[in-house]
């Protein structure tokens, strides 16, 4: 008897339509997550490279935003507020793009 065909799951090559939708939503969120978590610090670093004192002083630290120095606000509140909104976005993307095509309990999902 031939071995039954294996289930195929790969984040980069989702094999079913449902999985493709799930992975698509995940990719969108992860891209924004990476931009927030690593993009913003890198931007602050790049801008501060010209500081002769090597402390990272730049237009980012001199600009005032909502009363804060911009570089401080972006990390202390910009990122964290961004994460909460990302979670919200994930939930609504899921409701729009994934849920209509599958059942919650997983009893009879459509292909």
């Amino acid at each position: 008897m031939p071995a039954p065909r294996r289930v195929e799951v790969n984040f980069f090559r989702p094999s079913t339509r449902n999985m493709r939708r799930e992975a698509g939503v995940a990719w969108t969120i992860l891209a924004i997550w990476a931009a927030l978590s690593f993009g913003i610090p890198l931007l602050i670093w790049l801008a501060g490279l010209t500081d002769p004192g090597k402390l990272g002083r730049s237009f980012m630290t001199d600009t005032i935003f909502l009363g804060f120095p911009l570089h401080y606000w972006l990390i202390a509140q910009g990122c964290t507020i961004g994460y909460v909104l990302l979670c919200k976005l994930y939930c609504s993307l899921w409701d729009r793009r994934v849920k209509p095509y599958s059942t919650v309990s997983g009893k009879s999902p459509r292909w």
Partner: protein, 564 residues
């Protein structure tokens, strides 16, 4: 003088260790905490503790599903609050503000690391873990990889994290009990452990979760209320302190401080004060910042007692939404900690670790809120410690009782026996934690600081590949997990031996090792899995496929229809 300074050992204090002792500056006197029995605060604290035990009694359970995962009937706000209070330890309640006070901008890395990790958890794991829908993380890994070895490694990591992490909580709990009841450290350990044990044994997860919801409300309100008064004292309008402190912070960078602290800093002092809030003013570099953030994120997403939360909810919809709410609830604390830190700088711009350690505890006195509020704040701090300990102990006990006893050792045991063993191990674990808290082994502080690196290097890669890569098999998982664990331990050893490469500014900082190790652990798992693809038996492959179908809602193969 402040005598309790160095008891707040957890992540923050580990950073503090390398800092020089406190230089006493102006304004020191408003950063003091008095020891000894205080009647009204003590009554308030006893009342909240009685409440926890009462709630535990009201939600008592009689089966294992109720004990381990609260019968899977918890809603999004409830689970969100439980996630938040599981997360917020005595250390994040009291220590993060101090950490930010000392580390300035660089310290914000902890805040984004600890919040951003939830996004990873949500996107990559939350819904799938709920679909799997059993009791523990070791169970998930063991079943998915069809390997008892994987199960046991995961269970050991869970137990080690649970024990060391709860031990560290008792330092904070001891501090608070000493402050309110004038209790010795030994007495407060027994006292707090007694309370946790009492309601946990009676009620299991459902009582723990219900209590965590109450504890969240107490801890967050106690944390937030002093801010509105303090910001007015610092010259704000007192409408939204979380936005108003920006002005104070920008002023600090220019040298504007409180009149009591001299009003205006000049010369060396000015340079010192503004340096803290510049990106690299406290000695870090962009590499260390990103390594720290990454490690805390994958660590957060890989901590078993956090992940177990997704088993307790009604369905995967609730699992997703409870992360949203949990993160918002955690955010409330982390949007406010920097306010305390900035106001600490405002009144005492050049203080050291001694000021940093008591920023939160001294807040009600500075705000003039009186004795009753002092008790409430202490209850909040205690709630933070107790709720984290409860969540950890339950995760640890389930790893032993469920994954070892009920799955490996005695698969034939019935539900009543399992529930008994569950309670037994909860009590045993509580006993172990009491012993380690009283006689802390030398390694405790190090392991706690490493918890995020351990979880991020072992559990996280194994879980993500378990969900998202069907080819990943037990050989790959074992290789990846062993590698992650070994590298973390090597880095830890190197750090303790003070080898510069593993130090705070080294190339592979022990506490931020995941930026390098975690991707390698992924890679090793993938490569080894591909190499050993043929070795997986048909029976084992079938079991793994069953789990994968459940994780991704793939219907069972219909005879003759092919797979697509």
């Amino acid at each position: 003088m402040v005598t309790i300074a160095r008891h707040l050992c957890l992540v923050p204090t580990l950073v503090l260790i390398c800092l020089p002792g406190a230089a006493l500056g102006a304004g020191e006197e408003i950063y003091q905490v008095e020891q000894g029995f205080k009647l009204i605060p003590a009554i308030i604290m006893m009342a909240t503790l009685a409440l926890y035990v009462g709630v535990g009694f009201l939600s008592k359970v009689s089966d294992t599903s109720g004990y381990w995962v609260a019968g899977q009937g918890i809603g999004k706000y409830g689970n969100g609050a439980a996630i938040a209070s599981d997360w917020m330890s005595a250390a994040s309640f009291m220590g993060v503000a101090g950490l930010l006070y000392l580390k300035g901008w660089f310290g914000l890395g902890y805040i984004i690391g600890w919040t951003g990790g939830y996004v990873l958890l949500l996107v990559l794991l939350a819904a799938q873990l709920r679909r799997f829908g059993k009791f523990t993380i070791p169970e998930f890994l063991g079943d998915r990889y069809d390997s008892h070895a994987v199960r046991l490694i995961a269970a050991s990591v869970t137990v080690i994290i649970a024990i060391t992490y709860s031990t560290a909580q008792f330092k904070g709990i001891g501090l608070v009990c000493g402050w309110i009841f004038g209790m010795s450290y030994t007495a407060s350990v027994f006292f707090a452990a007694g309370v946790v044990c009492a309601y946990m044994l009676i009620s299991g997860m459902s009582g723990v979760t219900r209590n965590q919801q109450i504890q969240y409300v107490i801890l967050i309100s106690a944390f937030l209320i002093p801010l509105w008064i303090l910001i007015r004292k610092a010259g704000g309008t007192g409408i939204l302190p979380q936005l108003e402190y920006g002005r104070i912070l920008a002023g600090l960078m220019e040298g504007h401080v409180a009149a009591e602290a001299g009003g205006r800093l000049t010369g060396e002092d000015l340079i010192e004060a503004s340096k803290v809030y510049l990106p690299w003013g406290t000695g870090g570099t962009i590499y260390h910042f990103i390594a720290l953030v990454f490690t805390l994120m994958v660590g957060t997403a890989g901590l078993p007692h956090i992940m177990i939360r997704f088993y307790t909810v009604k369905n995967e919809d609730v699992a997703r939404r409870s992360v949203l709410w949990g993160l918002f609830f955690i955010g409330l604390l982390y949007w406010s900690s920097p306010v305390y830190a900035a106001m600490g700088k405002f009144w005492n711009p050049l203080g050291g670790a001694q000021v940093a350690d008591v920023i939160i505890l001294s807040a009600p006195e500075r705000a003039g809120l009186g004795q009753a509020f002092l008790g409430y704040l202490a209850s909040g701090a205690l709630a933070a410690g107790i709720s984290t300990v409860a969540g950890l102990l339950l995760a640890g006990a389930s790893a032993v009782a469920h994954d070892f006893y009920a799955t490996v050792l005695r698969p034939e045991s019935n539900d009543r026996q399992r529930l008994f063993v569950g309670r037994l191990f909860t009590a045993i674990l509580c006993g172990i934690v009491i012993v380690t808290a009283l006689y802390p082994p030398a390694l405790i502080a190090q392991i706690v600081a490493m918890a995020f690196a351990i979880a991020g290097n072992t559990i996280f890669p194994a879980c993500v590949l378990a969900v998202w890569y069907s080819k990943a098999n037990k050989y790959g998982a074992l290789a990846g997990m062993t590698f992650g664990l070994t590298m973390t331990l090597i880095a830890m050893a190197g750090w303790m031996l003070r080898i510069p490469a593993f130090g705070d500014t080294g190339i592979l900082p022990a506490t931020s090792s995941a930026l390098i190790v975690c991707p390698l652990a992924f890679l090793i798992n993938i490569i080894v899995s591909n190499l050993t693809h043929e070795k997986v038996t048909a029976e084992s492959a079938m079991k793994m496929d069953d789990i994968l179908r459940r994780l991704h809602n793939i219907p069972d193969e219909v005879e003759g229809s092919g797979s697509r």
